[in-house]
C-alpha cells in the first residue's frame, strides 16, 4: 500500500492480509496467510473443521490478535483497533441474537453512535427488515422466530452499519438442507445487490462452489489455494484441494525427463501417462496425476488406451460410475452419463483421457 494513489481507493482491495500467523500456545491455528479481497467480491473460505478458517475470520473482526503479520483495510492497518472500532461486521454461526431485545432493537443495536436521528434509525431498520423480507416482525423476540428467520435477522443486523466487509461464519450451518439451498441463492443475490464484499466461512464444498466468486481453500492453518471454483476444480494446486472439490483419481508416479512444456510424461504403474504440469517440478520428482472420473473416456477392448476390467457398476441417476481394475492392480473410478454403451461387470475396456484434463501435482 505504498502507492499514494491507491491508498484510500476502496475499489481495489478493501481487505489485505499479509503473512498473518496466529498461534495459541504451541498450536498454530493460522499460518502465514496472505490474501487480497477484491471490492464487491464474494469470497468463501473453505476447509474442514479446525483448519483455521474461523480463526481467520475472528482475526479480521478483531476478536483475536495476530501473532505476526498484518491486516489492512482500505490501506489502513487494523492492528490495535478493537472490534467495536473496525468497519467490518460479522454474522455469527450461532447468530448471537440478543435474546432480551426485539428484532428491531437487535437490528438497531449497531446504529447507535453513528449520529443518526431517531427517525433515520427507524427508517434504516425498516429498510433492512424489508431487505431480508421480515417486515412485520419488528417487535418479535428472537426466541419466537424460526431458524431461517433468525438467520435473516442476524444478517440484517450485521448489514446495518453498512460494513466495508461482511464476515459470515457458517451462515447457513444451522439451517436444514432444503432451506440451505434456497438461502444460498438468496445470499448470493443480496450480495450482488449491495456490492458489499463478503467473506464466508464454510465447510461445505458445494455451498462454496454455488455462492463464491473465489474460494480460498484452507487446511491445517494454511491457505492452500485461492481461485474461482472452476479453476480450483480443473487446476488444483495439490492433492488436498483436488480431493476437496469432488471425486478424483490419484495415480502415483515419477516425472519423466522430457523438457518442460504444457504436457509432460509421468512414469506410473499404468505405464507412461501424458498430463499437464506446472514448471515447479523437475524430472524424477515423485508426483501424483489427478484425474477426474468424468474425464475418463471408455472404449471397447479393441479400442485405443490403457487396458482394464470393470469390477463394479453403480447407477447414480444422472450418471453411471464404474470401478475399473487396471493391469497393475490399480483401481480407477470412471463416470459418465447413462445411455452409452453398456460395459457390465467383467467387461474388458480401454481407458483414455486428454492430457490437458490430467494434472500433475506434487506427491
Amino acid at each position: 500500500m505504498a502507492d499514494p494513489l491507491r491508498a484510500g481507493a476502496p475499489e481495489t482491495q478493501p481487505l489485505r492480509l499479509a503473512n498473518v500467523t496466529k498461534r495459541f500456545g504451541t498450536h498454530t491455528a493460522v499460518e502465514d496467510v496472505s490474501l487480497d479481497l477484491r471490492s464487491g467480491e464474494f469470497l468463501c473460505l473453505l476447509g474442514p473443521s479446525g483448519c483455521g478458517k474461523s480463526t481467520l475470520l475472528r482475526l479480521i473482526a478483531g476478536f483475536e490478535t495476530p501473532t505476526s503479520g498484518s491486516i489492512g483495510l482500505d490501506g489502513r492497518d487494523l492492528a490495535g483497533l478493537p472490534p467495536h472500532r473496525r468497519p467490518v461486521n460479522m454474522m455469527f454461526q450461532s447468530y448471537a441474537l440478543f435474546p432480551h431485545m426485539s428484532v428491531a432493537r437487535n437490528i438497531a443495536y449497531g446504529l447507535k453512535g453513528l449520529g443518526l436521528s431517531r427517525a433515520a434509525t427507524a427508517e434504516r431498520v425498516e429498510g433492512l427488515l424489508r431487505l431480508v423480507r421480515l417486515d412485520g416482525f419488528a417487535d418479535r423476540r428472537p426466541d419466537r422466530l424460526s431458524g431461517g428467520q433468525r438467520q435473516r435477522v442476524a444478517l440484517a443486523r450485521a448489514l446495518a452499519r453498512e460494513p466495508r466487509v461482511l464476515l459470515l461464519d457458517e451462515p447457513l450451518g444451522a439451517l436444514d438442507r432444503s432451506l440451505r439451498e434456497e438461502t444460498q441463492a438468496e445470499l448470493r443475490a443480496l450480495q450482488r445487490r449491495l456490492a458489499t464484499s463478503f467473506v464466508v466461512v464454510t465447510h461445505d464444498p458445494s455451498e462454496a462452489m454455488t455462492m463464491a466468486d473465489r474460494i480460498g481453500v484452507m487446511d491445517r492453518g494454511r491457505l492452500m489455494q485461492v481461485g474461482a471454483a472452476a479453476e480450483l476444480y480443473e487446476r488444483p494446486a495439490n492433492r488436498f484441494v483436488a480431493g476437496l472439490l469432488g471425486d478424483v483419481n490419484l495415480i502415483e508416479g515419477r516425472l519423466g525427463a522430457d523438457a518442460a512444456g504444457p504436457t509432460r510424461t509421468v512414469e506410473t504403474g499404468l505405464g507412461p501417462i501424458r498430463a499437464s504440469a506446472g514448471a515447479a517440478l523437475g524430472p524424477g520428482d515423485a508426483v501424483v496425476v489427478a484425474l477426474r472420473p468424468e474425464r475418463i473416456r471408455l472404449a471397447d477392448e479393441s479400442g485405443e488406451g490403457l487396458a482394464g476390467r470393470v469390477i463394479e457398476v453403480t447407477f447414480l441417476g444422472d450418471r453411471i460410475r464404474r470401478l475399473i481394475r487396471m493391469e497393475d492392480g490399480t483401481v480407477l473410478r470412471a463416470s459418465g452419463p447413462g445411455g452409452g454403451p453398456d460395459w457390465p461387470v467383467g467387461a474388458d475396456v480401454r481407458l483414455g483421457f486428454a492430457p490437458a484434463s490430467a494434472v500433475v501435482l506434487p506427491a
Binding site: 475472528r58 478483531g62 476478536f63 490478535t65 490495535g80 478493537p82
Partner: protein, 303 residues
C-alpha cells in the same frame, strides 16, 4: 478476547471483591492465628500481648517474645479437647457416609424422573435447604424427646415397651446432621447425574449389563465429581457444626464447634477459642482445597 487496552479496567473489576474478602476473611484468620498464641487476660480485649503498632521493630520483637504455645499444649494435653476433636471427625465422617448412602438413590431417582417432574423435585429439595437451619434442627426436638412423637408412635404400635433415649445422644446428632445436610448432598449429585447422556445407560444395557451393573459401572463413576463435591460440601461445615450438637446432643456430645463456642462465650477464654479455631482449620484446610479444586474443575467441565 479483549484487546489490551481493556486490561487496567479488568483489574478494577477484581479489586473490590479482592479487598473486601482479603480484609474480612483473610486478615481475620491471621489475627486468629496470632491470638491463639496469646494468653488470656481480664482486660478488653481479653488477651495478652497486644501488639503495639507504634513500637516499631522493638515493639514487634517484644511482642513476638511474649507469644507462646500454651493454648496448643492445653489442647493436646487435655482429654476433653482431644475427645471433642475425635468426636467431631467421627460424627462428620459417619454422617457423610450416611448422606452418600441416602443421597445417591434420591438424586438418581430425581435424575431419572420425567422432564416435567424434575424441576418440581428440585424445588422440593431446595425449599428445606432455604428454610431456617435453626428451625429445622429445632423441629427434631419435638420428635426425638422421650415423650416425643417418635416414641409415642413406636409405643402405640407396641414396638417398644419403654420410651427410647434418643435426644441428647450422638444418635440424635447423627440424625440431625443427616437431615440438615441432605440437600447439600442431593443437589450437586443430581446436577451431575441429570447431565449424563441417557444413551450411555442404553448402550450399557444393550451390551448386556443389568440395571444394577449399569448403575455401578456407568452412572456412578460418571457422577463421581458430584459425589466428591457433595461429600466435601457436607463434611467441612459438619466438622465445625455448633447448632446440631448444641440442641440435639445434650451435654455429653462435645464437638469442636461447641467447645469453641463454650470457651468463647462461657469461659471468655479468647486465646483458647482461637486455638480451637486454628485446630479446626487444620482439619478442614485439606478438604477446603480439594473443594476449591473440584469447583474449578466442575466450572471448566461445564464450559
Amino acid at each position: 478476547m479483549t484487546p489490551r487496552s481493556a486490561r487496567p479496567l479488568r483489574a478494577l473489576v477484581r479489586l473490590p471483591p479482592l479487598l473486601w474478602l482479603g480484609a474480612f476473611f483473610l486478615v481475620p484468620f491471621a489475627i486468629t492465628l496470632k491470638i491463639s498464641l496469646s494468653e488470656p487476660a481480664t482486660a478488653m480485649p481479653p488477651y495478652l500481648p497486644v501488639l503495639d503498632w507504634a513500637g516499631g521493630v522493638e515493639g514487634w520483637s517484644s511482642f513476638l517474645e511474649a507469644l507462646h504455645f500454651t493454648n496448643f499444649e492445653t489442647l493436646a494435653g487435655d482429654a476433653l479437647y482431644r475427645d471433642a476433636a475425635l468426636a467431631s471427625l467421627a460424627l462428620a465422617l459417619t454422617a457423610t457416609a450416611i448422606l452418600i448412602a441416602i443421597g445417591t438413590p434420591v438424586a438418581y431417582a430425581m435424575a431419572r424422573a420425567s422432564a416435567r417432574w424434575q424441576p418440581i423435585l428440585v424445588a422440593l429439595v431446595v425449599v428445606p435447604f432455604w428454610t431456617s437451619f435453626l428451625i429445622r434442627v429445632y423441629a427434631w426436638i419435638a420428635i426425638l424427646k422421650p415423650e416425643g412423637l417418635l416414641n409415642a408412635g413406636l409405643l402405640r404400635l407396641g414396638l417398644i415397651g419403654a420410651p427410647l433415649e434418643i435426644l441428647n445422644t450422638q444418635v440424635a446428632v447423627l440424625i440431625g446432621l443427616t437431615y440438615a445436610y441432605l440437600p447439600f448432598m442431593v443437589l450437586p449429585l443430581y446436577a451431575v447425574m441429570s447431565r449424563l447422556d441417557p444413551v450411555l445407560r442404553e448402550a450399557a444395557s444393550d451390551l448386556g449389563a443389568s440395571p444394577t451393573r449399569v448403575f455401578w459401572s456407568v452412572t456412578l463413576p460418571l457422577a463421581a465429581p458430584g459425589l466428591v463435591a457433595g461429600a466435601l460440601l457436607c463434611f467441612i461445615p459438619m466438622v465445625g457444626e455448633f447448632i446440631i450438637p448444641d440442641l440435639l446432643g445434650g451435654s455429653e456430645t462435645l464437638m469442636l464447634g461447641r467447645v469453641l463456642w463454650g470457651e468463647f462465650f462461657s469461659n471468655r477464654d479468647w486465646p483458647l477459642a482461637s486455638a480451637v479455631a486454628v485446630l479446626m482449620l487444620l482439619i478442614v484446610v485439606g478438604p477446603v482445597i480439594l473443594f476449591r479444586e473440584a469447583e474449578t474443575r466442575r466450572g471448566e467441565a461445564a464450559r
